[in-house]
């Protein structure tokens, strides 16, 4: 049980932060279908930095500090990549679905092109001790083991960032202004809010969180292998955001639920009671997606979807 909950946390952490990133973008009025691409790009940049730092030996034995630096760098790269989406959606008034899809394809292609060119392989494997656990403590009681044993630094970073940013978007002036731009940008503009700036802020934060979540994913779930895919986690995060009704608490609940559902497939072969059922891994892999569909069908009527989401802001419209 403890093992399953530990695994759930590992899967839930990237989903949690990336879904929050999606929320930031959409609450500011831009559909962010490029979460997957931003995760891939941020994670890849992080992996390159991690390798370079490991080779140079800059941090010596202080792996956790290095992990933190790389996480921040991944967030920065994700934010930079998301500027492409901001430019296309905000300045060029492009269809945001197409822009997002293009960026997903671009991220995968760029990562493949650079990985193959620089490392002669489509996958970058980081040194094994890089994805080391923060705390290894088997002596503590089981409840604490869930959070204290075999946990990663990235999980703590993500939880802290999640709480702070959730408060920020609800309680600060800028956060409220940003949300106004997602509901009624013309009204927001009429009281002097710069809609373009707010939407840029929303998408950039979104990209940063996706980049951070991307590196957390490759460092934890995929054991330090960076490649041109994060296994659809970005899209799942998007679904979790819709599941959570564009609200942090709902997202937190959704991320835990889907983290749990998502981890069953990969761990099904190492849990006896699941193994005894005789169902293949594919069955467990399908469950989260089917649950998403059912939930969406049931909740679509009372959607908290931002009103102006996906509509380019036009100053001339009233």
């Amino acid at each position: 049980m403890v093992f399953l909950l530990q695994k759930t946390l590992i899967y839930a952490a990237p989903l949690l932060i990336v879904a929050l990133g999606g929320m930031f973008s959409e609450r500011s009025g831009v559909i962010n279908l490029a979460l997957e691409g931003e995760m891939i790009f941020g994670a890849f940049c992080g992996a390159i930095l991690a390798r370079a730092l490991a080779i140079s030996g800059a941090f010596g034995s202080n792996i956790q500090l290095l992990f933190l630096v790389v996480l921040l760098f991944s967030a920065l790269c994700g934010a930079l990549f998301s500027l492409l989406l901001s430019f296309s959606a905000i300045n060029m008034k492009a269809d945001q679905t197409i822009g997002g899809t293009a960026l997903n394809m671009l991220a995968a292609a760029v990562v493949n092109a650079f990985a193959l060119s620089l490392f002669n392989s489509e996958k970058i494997q980081m040194p094994a001790n890089f994805s080391g656990y923060v705390i290894l403590n088997n002596d503590i009681p089981p409840i604490l083991q869930i959070f204290g044993d075999k946990a990663y630094l990235s999980t703590y970073v993500i939880v802290i960032a999640f709480v702070l940013l959730s408060i920020w978007i609800y309680k600060t002036k800028t956060g409220m202004r940003m949300r106004a731009c997602g509901e009624h940008p013309q009204a927001a503009a009429s009281v002097g809010i710069n809609v373009f700036k707010m939407r840029y802020l929303g998408t950039v934060i979104s990209g940063a969180l996706a980049g951070l979540g991307g590196y957390a994913y490759i460092a934890t779930v995929s054991n330090g292998t960076a490649e041109a895919s994060v296994g659809g986690m970005g899209f799942l995060a998007l679904a979790i955001m819709i599941f959570g009704n564009w609200k942090p608490l709902g997202i937190a609940l959704g991320a835990l639920l889907f983290g749990f559902l998502k981890c069953i497939g990969p761990v099904s072969s190492s849990l006896d009671f699941l193994k005894n059922l005789g169902l293949p891994m594919y069955f467990y892999n399908i469950i989260p997606y089917v649950v998403v569909l059912i939930v969406l069908a049931l909740t679509s009527k009372k959607s908290g979807c931002p009103k102006a989401e996906g509509i380019p802001y036009d100053k001339g419209m009233r």
């Binding site: 899809t101 292609a109 892999n285 089917v290």
Partner: protein
Amino acid sequence: MKSGFFSKLREKAGFKSVTSSVLCIIAGILVGFLVMILLSIVNERTSIGNAFKGLLILLGGPFSSGRGAYIITNLGDMIFYATPLIMTGVSVAIAYKTGLFNIGAAGQFLMGLTGALLVALNINTNGNPAMGVLVWILAVLVGTLSGMVWGAIPGFFRAVFNVNEVIVCIMTNWIAANIVSWIFGSMPNLINSGSGKSGYLITTAATGNGTPTLGLNKIFKGSYIDMGIIVAVLIAIAIYIMLTKTTLGYELRACGANRNGAKYAGMNEKRNIILSMAIAGGLAAIGGALYYLNPGIEFKFDSAYATLPDYGFNGIPAALLGSNNPIAVIFVSLFIRYLNVGGGNLPSAGFNKYIADVIIALIIYFAGFSKFFSDILSRRKKRAEADLIAKAVLPDPGAAAAAAGSVTQAATEAAESVTPTVTEAAESVTEAVMETAESVTPTVTEAAEAAETVLEQTPVLENTGKEDDK
């Protein structure tokens, strides 16, 4: 005003979309070239000279393959690899015409190949070519049907629950990917247990149900080409005719143009959404079936659950660049494969094939900008026309506010003179004009825009008057 062939051509919507597609392609290739320069700098084995060499190879497509025989083979392969792309491209296009974004072509593609291979690999017709063709047809039909069912799911969710089809498509993609690995993983008799093979299925070469080649492989020696391309082109043409010449096609397009309008006109918009997605799913599925029914193509089933096939996503650029016109999709698909073959030749310049993917992704990215540019163009055109009217109407362009008033008056008078009895119609138009006039800030061009509105509305008024006279 200029007249003549070219200015007339410039007015055509088709010409505009071709121009914007060509601009997107050029922009994509240029930025891709920048990526190559960047790569050549960061990679110590290459220099900037390689980037120029790479650009030439990429633009040469199959013709940069070296010897003549390779060029012929690569040309044949280019056409073969374009076949599934045409199908997924038309799939995305028809959904787009109905106002839906079919990002689920990958899953439909997978379901199509699954249905087709289940038929074609389970029935052995070795030594009986006629039966082989029959089984091949059956395989394509079963594949199509599987894809139609799979495509109908997002359509159903959209129509009945009003769930965004994009998210449903993404979910069904991953479900399909897992189902495919699951189905074939449980069929050991279809798995190729030959030496050095792991996770591959046997091909239609083993059962004699491969796609007939019609001698095309004799023209393009050594390539995979078969009659699939002919099937794909015929289907694309059929879909074009369906969309433009039939009632169903009209209804689908009406739903895409204005869903509420279509509903108000008495069309069953929910049925049309489901139908459109089912057709789109069937088309993508044919792509999967045609690709894997080729005797030379092996399907790797064991990793299918982890990555989605590129064909599904590459249908999106094919559709976008072709302005969602099925005939144009054929040519765009061939062009995309032309770039891909060129990309495959890139290693000789020190790059890898993914450069072509980068360029294709950039092309779609730029395709999103087309609305912005066409808006600028049409705005400029409207300005120019409105200026002309303004000069005709206003002898003194400085008095803009007064002008707006006089324009309104003129419109009222015009309205009254046309329909003296139908005062209501005139009043409403006057009101509209008044509003326009009020909202304009006193500049010449904007007063001119008001004038333009008046001129646009006057003919409408005439029609109203005539009808009322009857």
